[in-house]
Subunit: 542 residues, 2 copies
């Protein structure tokens, strides 16, 4: 027997119409590629998104067809988020930091029909344009005055002219909430990129869960600046959550350096933000070097890679900004878990609290988590045993776009490739990526703990720990370190810094000082590149 | 094209398993009919709910069959919420304040199979037991020691023995999220009661929306005391929201008087609550008469009927408890709108802020609202024009249980029977029930404004305004008033109190002083009873 409730679908267009009717005057501020600071309201967002939806229809974009973007965080990208998905097509956010070959491969694989791009990416688009046969129109996201004087792209369209030419009257269609809404490729370190295909249902449910008080806790009184790019897992859902709750939005555009971000935080009264550790590192360095402060910032979410406790401490103790450590991946929409201290944790001392905040936290309602051993058997939630983290829920991938075979799911659970513990309170802590874990004499050593200690040393700017081959123990940890400019640091001094902080046999066998550590397209350390370079370092010493 | 996301159903059992795994040690405290204060954890809730699910299965309760409760807010009622719905049956919460005839009619109409009841309701159950043929088992929600010495109910079962007899091992079944989960009858003032049949989908979506920061804003650091009964629209969803966010729960049981509530608020450190204005009136009177304070209470949700601004003021200005005015009805699960001040409202002066808080607020995401004229044409959101409030969304009723004909929905919208305005910011304000509105010479006068002014007078304990027949104007407002004990108040003094507060022609024509105002089973004023008694009062004077 079914309930007698209205059969209303969960659709992304409903988020926009909600924001228009309930938060019409709320602001969206964008630093644009053109250099200006643009302001509009949610009411105008609705009008512009409907113009754009009419333009897409005029270009023959059908239900489920892919429309690609190569763009920063800005209001035009936001308009595309709603116009494309709202009208039933699929928004394919391409990562502009990818190599041109990869970007072209992805656009071709997705069979993209139109490509919208920010002017910054004109050279990239000119490179891939002749190679992707499916794209029948290219649109520069700017006005006529800023259109490129010359380009190799045939019939390049102007975004603002396109909007001008179409009516703001458009009825958002209703369709099955399981329909595809957006597409984001993961930049795997091996094999071809894999496309994760979100649905309207998964996107709306994810937004509900992510906005909850113990998750991101965004409200209509907040001013949100998403540092995380809109080409990384839909900026962690913030473009959707902002419409759901009516928060003021501030888009930083292309300038993600410390000074630009700090200026924008202060000028627009940003209260909450979200991004990966590497961005915060730049911002904190700028703030500390110049004796600045955060006047309005109350809280930031940090995810994408593990957040070192030293960064949590710096934000909270020196700047009064609460850190919310979170975990997720492209395949999890991305929010899987959030680390929020509860009232009872306030009784703990600072170091105990910091130890909890080093964890990636508890599953938000909607996501289930478990850890399993090599045979897929469930392991206990005792905070000690490590196993592969498995997740399931309505916003977790069941397969990959145009994927072959049965897809990644094992008995209804998605294997994350992360190795973690889960404690009795449900707090999960990632110890490593399963492919990065260091297998020393049959025991596992997680690289994240070793890296967190290294970056807490005042002379260390960045650190990565990899598995190096060893004649006796198979693998041993090797630390790769970038020193802070103007600081001296010896191998022995740094290894001595581990004493008392970790089991002695976890201490790295050696330290290699380098000028920089390679980061991939999503800002994560490319450990495979480091392993290729240093895998035999310990053997050579032996 | 569908997205490639897991097809996981939204089920009530998932709320419980989430609470067990993520908030296992969190407390549920219950003041019980037996007189004691009972404590357990969410982990124990899970175990006891599974024992109960096995007991239901042993009694042959099948998918979709109805299990009735006549119970206060307490842990056993909570166990029933999860055991019944979780195992696929339908929880029918019967309002024990109904007349025995109505309760029997409802139980028969619902074809209830088992009836669980708190000892307080033994006499009521003994009255209806012989009249409801479908009920095959009666269970007293207590232990063996407290079972009634004698009863006319054949084979009366003991709740704690039932749990003891069954295993805590039970796998919650998975099924379509549109399956019915619970049933609540509205106590209409005319015609037979109508059953609203909720689904798992509607319940989970409602919980997500209701927990949002600008709605109830409940978190794992909160201690929630639901004053609103679990037999009124599922206690506004709090039993579900609490599991979703892991809040500590405090159930007040049968004692809802001011002294009992205040003692429990203080003893358990309650931070947030929810209930109808009449309950708060008793609590505030007790607190003020005895010079008490609220040490931990930060916020309460007030709904069910319009909250008089005088009550908002008293809570906020004298006790530091923030009031969140909300609107909903049995047919809306119930949350439709919530009134939350935003940062920009803090610039307003106190009276302007209070005027906003007198509104029932903005639609939570998921609910759409509009007002229409007598022909069903949409009226503008200008904050001035009044029309019938229409709503739609995934937790709004599409029909009534075993209802006849096409059901209540008009063009996909549910007509609420409330008359309201909606302003440009989306804030909705109820001016009256459409059947209570006073039609004076073709113009409408809302009774709520007139009542709010009356109860702001220091000598008024309660007031209701009704339409009385008038020889010239068809209808005119007549005020029915209960004076505070020991206070004097004349008709002319009270009518003079309206001067400058409202358009002169809205002022009531006369005042009738009475000893009490009749309240229905859900604590709302029975205006039909008042109209029957006083409809011709003005004619008689003319």
């Amino acid at each position: 027997m079914n309930g007698l409730m209205m059969d209303r679908p969960l659709l992304i267009s409903s988020l926009l119409t909600h924001a228009e009717s309930q938060h019409g005057d709320q602001e969206i501020v964008s630093r644009r590629v053109e250099g200006d600071l643009h302001r509009m309201t949610y009411r105008e967002l609705g009008q512009r998104a409907r113009r754009l939806a009419n333009a897409l229809a005029a270009h023959g974009i059908g239900h489920g067809e892919r429309v690609a973007t190569l763009a920063w965080n800005g209001h035009r990208h936001m308009e595309l988020y709603y116009a494309v998905s709202g009208s039933g097509a699929v928004l394919h956010t391409v990562n502009p930091r990818l190599h041109a070959d990869q970007a072209a491969w992805i656009a071709e694989h997705a069979v993209d029909q139109i490509l919208f791009f920010d002017l910054s990416f004109l050279p990239l688009v000119e490179t891939i344009a002749p190679r992707v046969a499916s794209i029948k129109a290219f649109v520069a996201m700017t006005d006529r005055a800023h259109m490129p004087a010359s380009t190799t792209i045939p019939n390049l369209l102007c975004y603002e002219e396109l909007l001008e030419a179409h009516s703001p009257a458009f009825d958002w269609p209703e369709f099955d909430e399981r329909s595809a809404s957006s597409l984001c490729y993961t930049s795997g370190t091996t094999g071809n990129p894999k496309g994760v295909l979100y649905s309207h249902r998964s996107t709306v449910l994810h937004a509900y869960a992510a906005a909850l008080p113990d998750a991101l806790c965004y409200s209509g009184s907040d001013t949100v600046l998403p540092v995380v790019p809109m080409f990384h897992v839909n900026a962690w859902g913030i473009p959707y959550i902002a419409c759901m709750v009516g928060a003021k939005l501030v888009f930083p555009g292309p300038r993600l350096d410390g000074p630009s971000l700090h200026e924008l935080f202060e000028a627009e009264g940003v209260t909450v933000s979200a991004g990966v550790p590497t961005v915060w590192q730049g911002l904190l360095a700028h703030v500390e070097a110049n004796g600045l402060k955060f006047s309005t910032m109350r809280r930031t979410v940090i995810g994408g890679s593990a957040c070192p406790p030293a960064m949590v401490q710096s934000f909270q103790e020196r700047h009064g900004v609460q850190v919310v450590h979170a975990w997720g991946m492209t395949e999890t929409s991305p929010l899987g878990s959030v680390c929020r201290l509860q009232t009872r944790h306030l009784e703990l001392d600072a170091s105990q609290r910091l130890a909890i905040q080093a964890k990636q936290g508890r599953a938000v309602f909607g996501v289930e988590m478990k850890i399993v051993d090599a045979h897929g058997e469930r392991l206990p939630n005792d905070g000690l045993v490590t196993g592969e983290l498995m997740v399931r829920g309505p916003w977790i991938a069941s397969g990959y776009y145009r994927g072959e075979g049965a897809g990644p799911v094992v008995d209804g659970w998605f294997p994350t490739g992360d190795v973690s513990t889960i404690d009795a309170e449900g707090f999960m802590q990632i110890s490593d990526r399963s492919k990065d874990v260091i297998k020393s004499g049959g025991e596992w050593i997680g690289s994240i703990d070793l890296e967190n200690i290294a970056v807490a040393h005042p002379a260390v700017a960045a650190a990565a720990c990899i598995a190096a081959r060893h004649p006796k123990w198979d693998e041993r940890p090797l630390l790769i370190v970038v020193k802070k400019p103007g600081h001296e640091l010896s191998r022995d001094e740094l290894l001595g810094f581990y004493e008392g902080k970790i089991a002695r046999w976890w201490t790295p066998d050696d330290v290699v000082f380098v000028d920089s550590i390679p980061l991939g397209g999503t800002g994560k350390v490319q450990k495979n590149v480091l392993r290729d370079a240093w895998r035999d370092h310990l053997l050579a010493q032996a």
